[in-house]
């Protein structure tokens, strides 16, 4: 009987006395786990059922299971403890069965003890935490005044690590007769406990937001920590990309100033999921050189990875069977065979839906503890701890979760991971897949694609996922909007000297402009009279001027690390009284909260009755209707400055800052398309909306709107389709326009994929880039194209967040993959997966878009099947 296998496994764990610490965080000398052949067999049989018994077959993009990969098991590789690890720590670890380290642990510990910054990227559950806990605890044992600061992207992760650190630090405290204080310090820490923590903590576990607003501005209270700060640990480094990462760099810059003031110079230990550029990201975030440890020595069992694409049920519209139903079926297959399972859903709503489905199927006897659980943000901590424990102990057989369980919360290693929908990035997909996988024995991960463009691209191009390097994480800490806010915070924390540097811009100039607004004040001698001094010594020098904070505000309060601007719209429900039920960022306010818009929270529908644009409030009322709304936004991009420009395919691009425009023009005579990146002005306006029926997606009405324009300066990449190409298109002007619109739709999807960014991080626009106005089509696109239309993909943040330049560099990849996306799509005339729904983009959009790509040469790179373009150059 299947449940016996579960039971036996549970006993196995208890028999060998595996504690959490041991299971996850070090090489353990254990009696080899008895191969649970029944378990392995059960898993194998499901995989066989899904793949038709052919685990090593070739990819089939049009099939149901589009790809299967088998990852061979790997044995552990050990290394001795490096020199310098405190003997008491070794003793404590040995007492728990850890007599040697995995090679990556040994390498990381050695770097850290030698004071070299190190970033570790090894798979989930390979014992990363010991890589930082060992050097930190060793340093504290050797010098009890030493302090360490741990940063986790969420509070929950810090709590999770706290339990684990307590375990080992208690043991050490007894051994070394030294009270090692380990505390979390975040928004949940009670006020009366804070003083005690400041005094007693050797290790403080916190998050960047708390460091930013609670610790750095109050650094004198933390003097003991900053005087003795030996290590800073940044876990889940890959979480710090885009805006969040750009803010974190500035928080770390501020922290470094404070450390210098108190005379410390901490070593950084970072751990990251697999991304393409961990060392580069660590160096960009911390602005110091790093060593990379990427080779894991942890053992791994055999693992299967499957891509499943629900079959098409309507070829005309390109509609597939529901991916949730598909997920339910696949999860059931595994559950039926008593395998322990995690299902990842894309939203809180789908999490609840899938939980309901699986409970219906496998609910068990009424009155018995739930074996199927949901897990998401919004659950109370106690309930979450209970579920995590149930998973570790095996009493919970399946959990359906949002990305809340993607990060390193300890839930043990499960048998199977089923992902309902592509998580959005390669890195996150591996991270989630890593939730399944034991040290020995088989495991499986299954990705079930939804009909979203990214999902379809990934399951139909498995090699993109399995063979290409994962995404780059990008940040732009010198975005002026972000930088200026942190310069204010930094000036509040410690006065700037007149010779100090901060970031890549001239901070003296920044301070000069801040002084114009009265936020800071310069005292002391004028800059030209100062002798050259380095700003690295503690405190301002007598012969130097300083910039003092001269404002009564507390600047950190005005900055949220998770967005650029703290301006937002609040949503007020007037159904019964006036309750605030949500908020949304300033940028997404107008398209989602215009009058008559349908606003959805957790499946409940509200209609917007009034949008108070000035007061930043939307008044909504609960309604019952069968449609939702989609805003039509017209966005106009005007080029302000071109940073670099190149031809379509195969060149490296050239900076043109110093070249005269004549020579640039001369060099481009025979080109077909240009790529560029630069600074742009974006103005967008919501001009109308459509009503779309649920389930059928029929267009059941529309309305016009007149909302204020939103403007920003940002950076953009753009593709210019040159005259010869446009002239060579054998189509009517409207069809040509549809082709360009469809192309831009597809490029946006691919750009999002390449940039590892969220959908709202980038925006798209078509136009001449010269600021001229034009008539619009019903879907908000220009009615008529200019002779040389440009497709802009811009950073959807004031000042830009650093996507444009990399996109410029990845131009060729962008076009090639866009072509693969469109050409590979099974629809006939366009669908939401490729160039957009037919109703939006016109009947020939797909054909024309492909034709444009072929003409500009994208087909030459991969999978091209058309004849080389024949272009007559005018």
């Amino acid at each position: 009987m299947g449940s016996a296998a579960w039971f036996v496994k549970g006993i196995n764990y208890r028999l060998v006395g595996l504690s959490l610490f041991v299971r996850y965080h070090a090489a353990v000398m254990l009696p080899a786990r008895r191969t649970d052949s029944a378990h392995d067999h059960a898993l194998q049989s499901v995989v066989d059922r899904l793949t038709g018994g052919l685990p090593d077959r070739a990819d089939t993009p049009d099939g149901w299971v589009t790809a299967v990969r088998r990852m061979a098991p790997r044995a552990a590789e050990y290394a001795p403890f490096p020199e310098g690890v405190d003997s008491r720590l070794r003793q404590a670890l040995c007492a728990r069965g850890i007599e040697q380290l995995y090679i990556h642990q040994a390498a990381a510990v050695e770097h850290a003890l030698a004071g070299r910054n190190v970033v570790i990227t090894t798979p989930t559950a390979s014992g990363k935490t010991l890589c930082y806990n060992a050097p930190v605890l060793s340093a504290i044992l050797t010098d009890p005044s030493a302090r360490a600061l741990y940063l986790f992207p969420t509070k929950a992760l810090a709590q999770d690590q706290l339990a684990e650190l307590h375990d080992i630090s208690d043991r050490l405290s007894r051994l070394a007769e030294l009270e090692i204080g380990v505390f979390t310090y975040d928004g949940d820490t009670p006020q009366d406990a804070r003083r005690a923590i400041r005094g007693r903590a050797h290790v403080v576990l916190s998050n960047p937001d708390m460091i930013h607003s609670g610790i750095l501005p109050h650094h004198p209270r933390w003097a003991k920590l900053f005087e003795n700060l030996r290590y800073v640990v940044i876990d889940e480094l890959h979480a710090y990309r885009g805006v969040f990462g750009s803010h974190l760099t500035n928080v770390l810059r501020r922290m470094r100033r404070i450390c210098q003031h108190y005379g410390s110079n901490p070593t950084f230990i970072c751990s990251s999921a697999t991304i393409a550029n961990p060392k580069e990201l660590a160096e960009a975030l911390v602005e110091q050189p790093f060593e990379l440890v990427s080779e894991s020595g942890a053992p791994r069992g055999e693992k299967f990875f499957l891509f499943v694409n629900p079959p098409v049920v309507n070829h005309q519209l390109g509609i597939r069977r529901s991916y949730l139903a598909e997920t339910r079926r696949i999860a059931s297959e595994f559950l039926k065979r008593q395998l322990q399972l995690i299902v990842f859903a894309q939203s809180r709503l789908t999490t609840e839906i899938l939980t309901t489905y699986l409970k219906d199927d496998f609910g068990g006897q009424p009155g018995t503890p739930d074996q199927i659980r949901g897990y998401r943000g919004g659950y109370l901590p106690q309930r979450r701890r209970e579920i995590e424990k149930g998973l570790r102990e095996g009493s919970v057989r399946a959990v359906v979760s949002t990305n809340a369980l993607e990060l390193g919360i300890d839930i043990g290693a499960l048998d199977v991971c089923v992902m309902a929908g592509y998580p959005g990035t390669i890195a996150a997909t591996w991270q989630r897949a890593g939730r399944a996988g034991r040290r020995s024995g088989r495991s499986a991960a299954v990705l079930v694609a939804s009909s979203a463009p990214l999902d379809q691209f990934v399951v139909r191009n498995p090699s993109y996922f399995f063979d290409a390097p994962p995404e780059h994480a990008l940040i732009n800490p010198d975005n002026l909007h972000i930088l200026v806010e942190h310069v204010k915070c930094a000036a509040f924390e410690l006065p700037f000297t007149t010779s100090e540097d901060y970031g890549k811009h001239n901070v003296q100039e920044v301070l000069g402009v801040l002084e114009e607004s009265g936020l800071v004040h310069r005292t002391g001698p004028a800059p030209d009279s100062t002798e050259a001094t380095s700003g690295t010594e503690a405190g301002p020098h007598d012969h130097e001027g300083t910039w003092q904070w001269t404002n009564e505000s507390y600047p950190a309060d005005a900055v949220s690390l998770r967005s650029i601007s703290s301006d937002n719209f609040v949503i007020v429900d007037t159904t019964k009284g006036a309750d605030v039920i949500g908020e949304t960022s300033f940028n997404s306010g107008p398209p989602t909260l215009h009058e008559k818009a349908i606003y959805i929270i957790e499946g409940t529908l509200y209609q917007v009755e009034k949008l108070d644009f000035v007061g930043r409030k939307a008044y909504v009322r609960q309604i019952d209707c069968d449609y939702y709304t989609d805003a039509i936004t017209y966005t106009k991009v005007t080029v302000l400055d071109t940073f670099a420009k190149g031809s379509g395919i195969g060149d490296q691009g050239s900076g043109i800052g110093n070249q005269s425009s004549d020579s640039v023009e001369a060099g481009l005579q025979t080109r077909l398309a240009d790529r560029s990146h630069g600074e742009v002005h974006v103005s967008s306006r919501v001009v109308g909306f459509k009503k779309i029926k649920f389930y059928t997606n029929e267009n059941v009405g529309s309305g016009e709107l007149d909302l204020p324009e939103q403007q920003m300066h940002t950076t953009a990449y753009w593709l210019t389709v040159l005259k010869p190409v446009m002239a060579a298109l054998p189509y009517a002007p409207d069809d040509r326009r549809d082709g360009v619109v469809g192309l831009s739709f597809a490029m946006r999807q691919v750009a999002q994929l390449l940039l590892m960014c969220d959908r709202q991080d980038i925006g798209i626009s078509i136009g001449s880039g010269e600021g001229d106005d034009t008539d619009l089509t019903r879907s908000g696109q220009p009615a008529k194209l200019s002779d040389e239309p440009r497709i802009f993909i811009y950073d959807n943040y004031p000042g830009g967040i650093g996507f444009s330049e990399p996109l410029f560099g990845m131009h060729e990849d962008l076009l090639t993959r866009t072509r693969a996306l469109i050409a590979g799509c099974e629809c006939q005339h366009g669908c939401p997966t490729c160039v957009g729904p037919v109703g939006n983009t016109g009947p020939l959009a797909k054909t024309v878009a492909l034709r444009i790509l072929d003409l500009i040469g994208a087909m030459q790179c991969r999978g091209g099947s058309l004849d080389p373009p024949q272009i007559e150059v005018a």
């Binding site: 209270r221 003097a223 002026l480 402009v513 009265g518 005292t523 007598d542 003092q548």
Partner: protein, 438 residues
């Protein structure tokens, strides 16, 4: 392409529009303005190559705030009122007492401290630009203000403050526990100095002032107390919210004229603080009979009770009961009296106070419930009058309460019924029962 400065202006300007209140900024050249020492009536002091301003004032015994003269506020010759420690913060009370009266060779100086700061937010960027210190010197009151005329002088200034504070027996503030002293600590630590106030006994007058003089709808601010206690009305006082911007104006322009009002505000605050400390200490010395108001008597009772001076506390509560004219306050005083009596095992007296609460025409529900429950306990366990106990328990059921409390009463009733069933309660004619349905 726009220059960095232009782009910065585009970024910064919108963020601060409407943010700057206070006087318009105008730069005047150095030498154009009056010397701050002259304007503010102080003297420059130089240390560590930096200079800051020290403003000294001396107040004669005849100096008055409204109807209160300084001469009436002087501490005894020992320098400290014998019951000052009763005003200390809760947990430090005993430590405060030991430190205050323990070592005989203490100089016995009290330091009245009040800061003016560049903001209320706290944190490293909030400066104390004015550190005001006051102390009794014989029959006079002396006041010294340290003014941070430029930021570079902070370290030197703080060292001078520490020098003055050395040998102080006790520091007295108004709201200093949560504001002035933590801020001082931040400034000292930031300058890598050790703070003189860390181990010093501390009386934060805000808390005793609330106990003694709070009026229902008036915030317990110093200026309000001045009005009610001294009959003193400040003229042209600088409102608190204007203080930071006045200082920033000085920092940018060098023109100290608008700061004269700030320094005067600080001096008035310190003198008032000293007067209120004197009033509270004298009250506690003189005893409950001297209380001017019922509220004062009740507050005194609480202060005595905290210090374990139960006889004085009971007297004060009794006086408060007598003096209050409204039932709600009287209920509060009776409750304080009853609770203390119960703690002292004077159960009969406690019961009679609880009963008096129930006789009041209007009484807060929470207090009434406490009274009925206390009386039910009293009759069940001490008087062994189960019928009376049951009557009180039933009465408490009629009062609004949480589910848990209701449940507790139900348990009691069930137990009473059990007891009454097995050993029939002696049906005493209970004149102790208040007439139901009054």
């Amino acid at each position: 392409m726009s220059s960095l400065a232009d782009r910065l202006r585009g970024v910064i300007r919108p963020l601060v529009e409407g943010g700057s209140k206070g006087p318009p900024l105008h730069r005047s050249d150095h030498g154009d303005h009056h010397d701050a020492a002259e304007v503010l009536g102080g003297e420059w002091r130089e240390a560590r190559g930096q200079r800051f301003l020290v403003v000294d004032r001396k107040y004669a015994p005849g100096y008055r705030h409204g109807r209160v003269a300084l001469a009436d506020c002087l501490p005894p010759d020992t320098g400290i009122w014998p019951r000052l420690h009763l005003l200390g913060c809760g947990a430090d009370l005993l430590g405060c007492r030991a430190a205050l009266y323990g070592p005989p060779n203490q100089s016995g100086k009290l330091l009245f401290l009040d800061l003016e700061t560049t903001g209320l937010a706290g944190g490293a960027g909030t400066y104390a630009f004015l550190v005001g210190c006051g102390w009794f010197d014989g029959a006079t009151f002396r006041l010294r203000q340290f003014f941070l005329s430029n930021f570079g002088a902070e370290r030197a200034l703080l060292e001078s403050v520490a020098e003055l504070a050395a040998g102080t027996a006790c520091v007295v503030t108004y709201n200093g526990k949560s504001f002035d002293l933590p801020l001082m600590e931040t400034r000292f630590v930031l300058q890598r100095l050790s703070t003189p106030f860390a181990e010093m006994p501390h009386v934060d007058m805000l808390h005793p002032a609330r106990r003694l003089w709070r009026e229902d709808d008036v915030e317990c601010r110093l200026t309000n107390l001045e009005r009610t206690l001294c009959g003193h009305e400040r003229e042209g006082d600088v409102p608190g919210f204007e203080i930071p911007s006045r200082y920033f104006h000085y920092v940018r322009s060098g023109d100290a004229r608008s700061l004269e009002g700030v320094l005067e505000h600080n001096r008035l605050d310190i003198i008032s603080l000293a007067m209120f400390t004197a009033r509270a200490s004298q009250l506690l010395d003189d005893g409950p009979a001297e209380a001017l108001t019922a509220r004062e008597a009740l507050g005194m009772g609480r202060l005595y009770e905290r210090a374990g001076m139960t006889a004085e506390a009971l007297e004060a509560f009794a006086r408060a009961v007598q003096a209050f004219t409204d039932d709600i306050s009287r209920a509060e005083a009776l409750r304080a009296h009853a609770t203390l009596c119960r703690r002292l095992r004077r159960y009969e007296t406690a019961a009679s106070s609880w009963r008096r609460i129930l006789e009041l025409r209007t009484c807060p529900v929470a207090i009434a419930r406490e009274a009925t429950e206390a009386l039910a306990v009293h009759h069940e366990h001490r008087e062994r009058d189960l019928t009376a106990a049951k009557t009180f328990a039933l009465r408490s059921l009629q009062l609004q309460a949480t589910v848990a409390r209701h449940q507790a009463v139900q348990y009691r009733l069930a137990r009473l019924d059990r007891k009454m069933g097995s050993e029939p309660a002696i049906d005493r004619p209970s004149q102790s029962l208040f007439p139901l349905g009054y």
